[in-house]
Assembly symmetry: C2
Homo-oligomer: 115 residues x 2
DNA sequence: ACGATATGCAACCTTGAAGTTGCATATTGC
DNA sequence: GCAATATGCAACTTCAAGGTTGCATATCGT
């Protein structure tokens, strides 16, 4: 096998929604916050963002739809946490593209040298 | 300096537009195509996409706006190529978030162990 | 029981993304 | 010069994303 832990590479059509979810400043801030501070409630995530709690809730659902976060009810609050696996899949996707580009650049270089 | 080659980490507000540009299936396909086949003209990039050349042109401009591609005129055609540096910055951004998450997970674990 | 706190849900508004069609302009090759 | 090829530019349509307000519902703590 080419990768450890059975990780499957994302195909373009599957990767696009993940990047789209990351492609909003507010959501990217949420992801950053969850990555540093760990699981947090909606109210805590909303504090200091400048937008309403309902808007934040929508963003969290958007991230959830892309598989980037996960939530669970804890008493009267709902706690959200990062789904780091999906994030790493996205990272590997970018890795692969860079690698392909490098290979193409190498081919171009040797082509030029041969002519 | 903390990184070689003077690479600067992207901040959330700068990274979001990059991910947004990657967050569309058509554009992601274009990026993939450019990464494997190298510099290509608009007409070639449009062939077989199912959308009009004008739409592809718009997508290319969107990618350009995010700094992910670069173009130059070659005779009567315009050739687009991947700007792999920006792609790698985005990759490092995801890397950093994963790392922060790992650190947070470690803190949480030792916190639990101490109580 | 009750006030305070934390969410859930829905209707509504505004704006920009994505795609189209139509037409103008620039280059190439004979 | 001219037909074919490759873009550039602009107006128009459709639709969903991002935000808001208002109100209902569920839990906690005393």
């Amino acid at each position: 096998m080419s990768r450890s832990r059975g990780a499957t590479a994302l195909r373009a059509d599957d990767a696009a929604p993940v990047f789209a979810a990351l492609g909003d400043a507010t959501r990217l801030h949420l992801v950053g916050r969850l990555s540093t501070d760990g699981p947090l409630s909606i109210t805590r995530l909303s504090a200091g963002t400048g937008v309403t709690r309902q808007a934040i809730t929508r963003h969290l659902h958007a991230l959830d739809g892309a598989g980037l976060v996960r939530s669970s009810r804890r008493g009267r609050e709902r706690v959200w946490e990062l789904e780091v696996k999906r994030l790493e899949k996205a990272r590997r996707y970018l890795d692969r593209i860079s690698a392909q580009w490098d290979a193409a650049a190498d081919r171009l270089r040797s082509f030029v040298e041969d002519h």
